[in-house]
Amino acid sequence: MNKAFPAALALVVAAILQVSIAPHLAVFGVVPNILFLVVVTLAFVQGPVAGGVSGLIGGLLFDLIGTSIVGPYALVLSVVGYTTGMLSANLFAEGWILPVTIVAVASLSAELAYGIVLAVLGLGGTFWRDVLTVMIPSAVYHTVLAVLAYPWLARYLRADRPMRSFRRLA
């Protein structure tokens, strides 16, 4: 089966969930970024090319869903998707710890990079306060969600290489 179709479908579903369900899952103002989770999982199971391309598309969707300028998150997520794909492909993972760790690092990196890009463009709030109130809480939240969602997402996105257990998925 063509790998692009499930990836595209996952991104569309993630965008729909981002506008419908994610706002109601906000914890202390931190809204989960479902598009980010899908992009990182794609990068993890399909490599840097899929990670980078899906990052650009997913980031663009995220920018278009919001109210700020279009482009910054597409830039950030394409780089994060590509880098995550490179990392995951070159680190042999046999378990769930590595994917979850990579999600945590990728989330924090994406939030930091997005904060920097917004600051450069003269947007966003005070950078160092954002680190404490948005970036770190978002990274923690995404890591928790990754523990729950990664096995299912990875199983779906790796349909061409069926796995019998979640352990093998990682």
């Binding site: 103002g29 663009l60 869903i65 597409a74 947007l123």
Partner: protein, 288 residues
């Protein structure tokens, strides 16, 4: 061994692709800045607002039980035995009461909204909130009124407690409102007591900040802020919030002033759109 081969192949990065993606993203950003409100990216965003309206509304509806669960968890202080004894007796009454209570609350909220609009002598149209912020940084809501209901880009949005935000995207059936708590939002205000002018800005952290107020005219805790009408975006004399904290160092040019909105923006369910407010740019920071 097969798995290792696949992983090695997947690991073959393409730096040229990465550069291409970065360039593409930069082109998109540049295009967004240069194209204006009628450009293709802005049109796509309006299209996404239109398409996402039913999903946002469905999400609000579907998550009612989730919010109910949250309320239930908040009320776990009641003893279990009391709860069981009352449960059977009150089940039917609760169901009926819930419907009546919801209608009563809705009635009260709408009455407060209408009264507020009357006192302000504003031409308004009511709207329901169907979508919440989709992002930790940006603060916007979606409402179920669009150009079909007379809503225009740049219209101010209020609730019973005061100013809520400004329409930044509008379609025939829905509109997106940037809240005053958004970090890109700016509202020209004056302090009711001292008549000092300033700008209220949102922040990701939550509280509003009042900026550029002369130290000599600095407000004190409890002072009320009203829209000044400067800039022509928001009508004059709408309540924006109350000063909750004022601090100033000798070296500071302006005091640091924290403001709290009187509107519970995170839980708001109905709003009024002020019709006839001047159209303005939907670009970030395009408030006043």
């Amino acid at each position: 061994m097969k798995r290792l081969e696949i992983d090695t192949r997947r690991g073959a990065g393409r730096p040229v692709l990465l550069v291409g993606l970065v360039v593409a993203a930069l082109i998109l950003t540049t295009l967004w800045y240069r194209e204006g409100d009628s450009g293709p990216l802005h049109a796509v965003r309006r299209g996404i607002v239109t398409v996402s309206q039913p999903f946002a509304a469905a999400g609000t509806f579907v998550t009612i039980p989730l919010r109910g669960l949250g309320n239930w968890l908040g009320g776990l202080g009641t003893s279990r035995s009391d709860y069981d004894a009352l449960k059977a007796q009150n089940l039917e009454l609760k169901q009926r009461l819930a419907g009546l209570e919801e209608a009563k609350l809705e009635n009260e909220r709408i009455r407060a909204l209408v009264d507020f609009a009357k006192t302000q002598d504003l031409k308004t149209v009511g709207a329901g909130v169907i979508g919440r912020p989709t992002d930790s940084r940006q603060r916007s809501i979606m409402i179920d009124r669009g150009t079909g209901g007379g809503v225009k880009l740049g219209d101010a949005v209020i609730a019973a407690g005061g100013l809520v935000g400004q329409v930044v995207e509008v379609t025939p059936w829905a509109a997106r409102v940037r809240l005053i708590t958004d970090s890109d939002s700016g509202v020209a205000v004056l302090v009711q007591r001292t008549r000092a002018n300033g700008i209220v800005r949102g922040s990701i952290q939550g509280p509003l900040q009042l900026e550029f107020v002369d130290k000599a005219l600095a407000p004190v805790r409890g002072d009320v802020l009203l829209t000044s009408g400067l800039g022509g975006v928001y009508p004059k004399d709408i309540v924006v919030g109350e000063v909750t904290d004022v601090s100033s160092q000798q070296v500071d040019l302006f005091p640091t002033i924290t403001v709290a909105s009187r509107v519970d923006i995170d839980r708001i369910e109905e709003v009024l759109v002020i019709l006839g407010a001047s159209p303005t740019s939907s670009q970030p920071g395009g408030g006043e």
